[in-house]
């Protein structure tokens, strides 16, 4: 079979698997976040932590819950890393330096999972499990919670209540992520992923040379790393490492896991708003952009100067392109190939995927709320064109709603371009950091700030980001890129929930058809293009034309 046909069938298998799962998983997600029933374990948990699960919150309290929870998460994760020598399984790796510890804490709490550290050298198993794995779960659950709060804003009327953050957080973790992660971890283990508490194993090769091979408790973390669209590897080479991703089966499984929840959430959304076609239209926009970018990246990589540089033999170009498109189209940022070694167009494609704002299909929860915010913007633009007050899902989009949506959309480009711009003019910083000369060097800086501000976490990893400037500025970009949109989204949800539903009229633009899909997809591309073409022209576009 030709590699192209095999690659197409491989992508087809992925799509078929996602199509099979999105209905049951989407309906399950809708049930989890709408049922008033608590399980016995949850009731016990709420009693233990002294939270009233039946007290619904206003948007402000909900947002304070998100911020407070994330704040203590950053502090605890920072302390765990700084106190590593006191923990078991530290293998003498010592305390993580302060700048790196802050960056990692910001990174894992914001669901970015950027790696400025070499895990095999820096991070012991205790911090990996008790610190990083925990944030892999709960940062994804926070994303889910915020998405559900926004959905409630659309379906409720004349209320100031959006649900209870603690209930959403606990249900997302215990009912959705934990069981799915456990099953996935066992499957990965059975397919060859390691799960060892040892630091390594010493071998003497057939040539008589002795080596130590690093080991880690990978399977448990790999599962939630993909499922929660996190992306931080337990090994430096991430999902390219044969112990994290040993064969073409695990490769497909891992791509499936990172797409499963974001894709299914569109079904959950359709179910919750009472019109499944509202969900399908979002899914179609996500799917078309994902597939289009896959075509670009795959073609570019197959025709690059060195197609196999930074790629593993077992995945090949097709398996690497499929992973690269999916990991940057969601906010995962795991890699099974080194994007830094991609061709100008292929690497530019992964960068553009992030610049779309991570909604094709986006991260767990973040993808859904990002595209809903973009839908608000799209309807606002449509309203301007026809001179009517825009509405979406029966809610008027007035000044408050559009302002909140605009703040949410503009936060990422603002922190990204400011961060990258300052880095470029700071004397000496960039010169020390770059791994490649010329236009690609600029792409490395742009990619770093795009990855941080979009909470993706992948990298043009040749860049050295261990200086205090990069560690702190990228950490700040991650936090602002995460929490400004979240607060804006919750404000939007609050103001939508307070409104009465307006009945559909002859003048209502239907939001289930191809016209709306085109408008929405066009808005995603247009916003990214208007914001980033100047920067892209100097980096990947220049490189692709060289």
């Amino acid at each position: 079979m030709s590699p192209t046909l095999a690659g197409l069938l491989q992508a087809g298998l992925l799509i078929a698997a996602l199509a099979a799962v999105h209905r049951p998983l989407g309906d399950y997600l809708a049930r989890v976040f709408s049922t008033p029933e608590h399980t016995r374990a949850e009731t016990a948990l709420y009693r233990l932590v002294r939270v009233d699960p039946d007290a619904e919150q206003r948007w402000g309290t909900y947002a304070q819950g998100v911020l407070g929870f994330s704040f203590v998460s950053v502090v605890l994760l920072y302390l765990l890393q700084r106190l590593q020598p006191l923990l078991p399984f530290d293998f003498g790796r010592g305390a993580v330096p302060p700048g790196m510890a802050f960056n990692n804490a910001a990174s894992f709490v914001s669901n970015t999972n950027w790696q400025s550290y070499v895990p095999e050298v820096v991070m012991g198993h205790a911090v990996q499990m008790v610190g990083l794995t925990v944030q892999n779960f709960v940062s994804a659950a926070v994303g889910l919670a915020v998405a559900m709060a926004l959905v409630r804003g659309f379906i409720r009327s004349r209320t100031d209540r959006l649900g209870n953050f603690w209930v959403d957080l606990v249900r997302g973790t215990l009912r959705v992520l934990l069981p799915m992660a456990f099953v996935s971890a066992v499957a990965l283990l059975a397919l060859g992923v390691v799960m060892s508490l040892r630091s390594g194993v010493t071998v003497v090769g057939p040539d008589g040379v002795s080596h130590t091979i690093a080991l880690a408790p990978a399977a448990s973390q790999e599962a939630i790393k993909m499922l929660g669209t996190n992306g931080g590897g337990i090994f430096n080479a991430n999902s390219a490492h044969p112990f994290e991703n040993p064969n073409s089966w695990t490769n497909l499984l891992e791509i499936f896991l990172l797409m499963a929840i974001p894709v299914s959430l569109t079904r959950a959304f359709g179910t919750l708003v009472g019109n499944r076609r509202q969900g399908y239209v979002l899914l179609s926009v996500m799917g078309v952009l994902w597939a289009g970018m896959l075509g670009v990246i795959w073609w570019a990589e197959a025709h690059g100067l060195r197609p196999l540089e930074g790629k593993e033999t077992r995945f090949g170009v097709a398996g690497s392109a499929l992973f690269a498109d999916s990991t940057t189209g969601t906010s995962t940022g795991a890699v099974n190939s080194m994007h830094d070694s991609f061709s100008g167009l292929g690497g530019g494609g992964t960068l553009l995927n992030m610049l779309f704002g991570e909604m094709t299909p986006g991260g767990v929860g973040t993808g859904l709320y990002s595209i809903l915010v973009m839908a608000v913007i799209a309807m606002f633009l449509a309203g301007l064109m026809v001179g009517r007050t825009p509405e979406y899902l029966g809610k008027k989009l007035g000044k408050r709603e559009v302002t909140a949506a605009a703040v949410s959309i503009l936060a990422m480009p603002t922190v990204l371009l400011l961060g990258a711009g300052i880095a470029l003019v700071l004397p000496g910083e960039v010169d020390k950091a770059l791994n490649n000369p010329g236009a690609h060097g600029l792409s490395e800086v742009l990619y770093a700030y795009a990855s941080a501000s979009n909470n993706n976490g992948s990298a043009f990893a040749g860049i050295t980001v261990t200086s205090d400037w990069f560690q702190s500025s990228l950490g700040v970009c991650m936090l602002l890129g995460r929490f400004i949109p979240i607060v804006a989204v919750l404000a939007l949800a609050g103001s939508l929930a307070a409104q009465r539903k307006v009945p559909e009229s002859a003048g209502t633009l239907p939001t289930t058809g191809p016209l709306f899909a085109t408008l929405l997809g066009g808005s995603v591309v247009l916003v990214a293009a208007l914001t980033f073409i100047p920067a892209l022209a100097l980096g990947p576009i220049a490189e692709a034309l060289l």
Binding site: M1, F71, M195, A237, N247
Partner: protein, 202 residues
């Protein structure tokens, strides 16, 4: 009490409970599953043992070093960004790609040097060297090579080990993994397992 402080304290309590569940119980449960016979070998790194000695992992590629480069009996792995020399062995205590871009003249020179070295070792023209033989893998630990690169090395390995060419070629075929389900990934040859098989046959 300030509401944000109150929410943060509630957050701390929730975080601690979820840490016990997802950061302690969950990984230990998966680790426990990894103790089941049949899964334990996977969990501990798919280590291959010969005569009681661990000789490597079937999942980890570390390029073997020939005692006499003029009589090199080994099939070789892909270049590794972890190696000091252009073709030297990587160090599996870490993992790394080169992250060199396609527009990088310094790296063009490294690739050209690898091509010359491989061509000389195999006694072929430089343009016959397949691209995976001169490019660094993503992990620096790629356990496999393309069937084309394995085929390129068959004649030399047969000559040095004294095995018939057809026998070596059959061993390559035995250690070639096709695409999963016929469509997933690319065909690849596991170098360590192949070298052990050649060693056992010789």
């Amino acid at each position: 009490m300030n509401n944000l402080v109150k929410q943060s304290l509630a957050g701390l309590r929730v975080l601690l409970v979820l840490t016990v569940v997802t950061g302690v119980l969950y990984p230990l449960a998966v680790w426990g599953v990894g103790r089941i016979p049949g899964l334990e070998a996977n969990a501990e790194g798919s280590v291959i043992t010969r005569n009681g000695q661990a000789v490597g992992s079937s999942l980890i590629g570390v390029d073997p070093v020939a005692a006499d480069p003029a009589n090199d009996p080994w099939f070789h792995n892909r270049p590794s960004a972890l190696a000091k020399d252009p073709l030297g062995p990587g160090d599996p205590s870490s993992s790394l790609g080169s992250n060199k871009s396609a527009v990088n003249s310094d790296y063009d020179a490294v690739v050209a040097e690898r091509r010359t070295l491989v061509a000389r070792r195999e006694g072929v023209a430089p343009d016959q060297v397949p691209s995976d033989a001169v490019t660094a893998s993503a992990s620096g630990l790629d356990p496999q090579i393309s069937p084309a690169y394995a085929e390129l090395q068959v004649a030399r390995v047969a000559r040095v080990t004294g095995l018939p060419v057809d026998r070596v070629r059959a061993l390559v075929a035995e250690h070639t993994t096709g695409r999963g389900l016929g469509v997933l990934g690319d065909p690849a040859v596991d170098v360590l397992e192949l070298n052990l098989a050649v060693q056992a046959a010789g």
